[in-house]
Amino acid sequence: MTVESTVFLVDDDPAIRDSLRLLLESEGLRVMDFATAEEFLSHHDPKLPGCLVADLQMPGLSGLELQQHLLGNGVQRPMLFLTGFGSISEAVQAIQGGAVDFLEKPVDAETFLSRVQTALATDRQQRKNQFRQQQMQQQFDTLTPREYEIIARVAVGQANKVIAMELGISERTVELHRSRGMKKLQLRTVAELAKHWNEMQT
């Protein structure tokens, strides 16, 4: 998680690209810019952390279509859209599609940069959660089938006594598998387990 975040900038107007790049760089941000949504997609690596800043009205693939394309491929990258006058309905669609925000051109530097920072923070948070979930998944994978069976029941709030009865084993055996499982998962409380279990189910 040491890779620096990048702002992926997509706008068909070279002057807008160049000026926004300078603005982002003045904030110390790393920028990659693209003239079209197609160009961005052909170079896009979803693994690279960062956010997308795109013009809504572009020739070729529009901002909205780019968003649909990314969502369709399961890419969660936070998106910030820039709009011109009179494209509020498109902007609303973009937000409904999960964009972090939209800004009307011309954008003020302070507002723009703070929204970009928010988008980058969202991306970092998403990646952190994803990473944690992956780790957790790996830890769950180390459980034996019996341990998994019991941990799954504990996670949804079943008491040891109930589990023992339903599985037809002694309460002591349940307790044994449960504590081994919790140790493998590096979890201490049922509350922690329940939280991770829910995250993994989504």
Partner: protein, 385 residues
């Protein structure tokens, strides 16, 4: 010398002469056109009552006066019509037809249409000058021209209203860039990190300011309310100006424009504002027609070329859905939900006022083509420009 009498009809009898004279006198005295007889020195020999009425002088006051007394710039010099010519023109009369201005006894100017016919009187080359007051006709022409001008202006404002969003975008782009460059420089300056970037940023700010002002100039030039005046216009410039205005719409709908225009095309004598309006209407219609089809081929072809007659032909071809059923040139006919159906009727009116017609036909491979012709400016005035 050839015997000219051979071509004359038989000599008339006295009675016939008398009747003929009476007949001509009745016409001379009652015709609404003014008739002046002018001698070789350009002085008035005689005039009819219509002249007296038109200019407010009596025949007695006018006799012997130079013709320029009534028509200051009159070109009726008998010497302009060689005596030899006058002799043969007893039957084949040379006439000269033109418009001029007369001055009445009260000093009022009146527009005149003048016809000059040379005759031979008592061995001298003289002229008969027919004078027609055309003030009413000119007034009517002015009224209808003004009305057309008003309509063209409202049509122009309506088109611009529809284009607000794309024109704002065109202005907003450079403004966005300018603001971002300036704010970026300010931030870098405050952090003490501004070095190499300043020169490029300033160059870009200048460039983008020019871009914005070009957009606003195009807009201002287009929105102005000019006089209805015909002048020598390069139709290709009109095409480029209008294309600038709709640049964003073309880009937004991914339409390729192919310009097949002849560089050495002659100037046309037109009302530029009105023709711009026609071109804008046709191009925007074409854009909308193409945008409405989901087709891959999205082309707008514009052709201008010189016709064999004294006209320049303009063609606008699109790859849209073709012409709808019904008379597209009829007033209030519209296929657009927000259309008023005034665009094409107005365009046709404008083109007809320029002595041609606006027509439309479907292309064989889809889409429609609109064409019209514009009158070429006569060479003389081109060189005097």
């Amino acid at each position: 010398m050839p015997d000219q009498t051979a071509s004359y009809t038989d000599p008339l009898s006295d009675l016939q002469l008398q009747e003929s004279e009476e007949h001509l006198r009745a016409i001379y005295n009652n015709v609404s056109e003014g008739i002046l007889t002018v001698d070789s020195r350009c002085c008035i020999l005689n005039c009819n009552p219509a002249i007296e009425q038109l200019f407010g002088y009596t025949g007695k006051q006018l006799r012997g006066q130079p013709v320029n007394y009534l028509i200051p710039h009159c070109k009726t010099k008998a010497v302009d019509y060689p005596a030899a010519k006058c002799q043969i023109t007893n039957n084949y009369q040379v006439t000269n037809h033109y418009q001029d201005t007369g001055i009445t006894s009260s000093g009022k100017s009146i527009p005149l249409e003048i016809t000059v016919t040379p005759i031979h009187l008592q061995g001298e080359s003289s002229l008969v000058v027919f004078v027609r007051d055309i003030s009413r006709r000119i007034e009517a022409e002015n009224t209808s021209r003004l009305r057309l001008q008003e309509m063209a202006h409202s049509g122009r404002l309506a088109s611009l209203g529809e284009m607000t969003s794309s024109l704002t975008h065109e202005l907003n782009q450079p403004l966005t860039a300018i603001l971002s460059y300036a704010q970026a420089c300010q931030r870098l300056l405050r952090k003490g990190k501004l070095d190499g970037q300043l020169d490029n940023a300033l160059t870009q700010i200048i460039e983008q300011t020019r871009r914005a002002s070009a957009v606003s100039n195009h807009l201002r030039r287009f929105i102005r309310k000019g006089d209805s005046e015909r002048s020598a216009v390069d139709i290709n410039h009109v095409m480029h100006d209008v294309l600038h205005l709709i640049y964003h719409e073309l880009k937004h709908h991914h339409i390729d424009v192919e310009l097949d225009i002849h560089k050495d095309i002659p100037m046309v004598l037109v009302d530029r504002l009105q023709i711009e309006q026609v071109v804008l209407n046709l191009l925007r219609n074409a854009v909308e027609a193409i945008a409405a089809t989901g087709q891959k081929r999205r082309e707008l072809n514009i052709r201008t070329f010189k016709e064999v007659n004294a006209f320049v032909q303009v063609e606008v071809e699109d790859t849209g859905g073709g012409l709808p059923a019904g008379d597209i040139f009829a007033k209030y006919y519209s296929t657009k939900s927000d259309g008023m159906g005034m665009g094409l009727p107005l365009c046709r009116k404008i083109i007809r006022a320029h002595g041609s017609d606006l027509t439309a036909k479907n292309n064989r491979i889809g889409g429609a083509t609109f064409h019209f012709q514009l009158p070429v400016e006569p060479i003389q005035s081109q060189s005097s420009r």
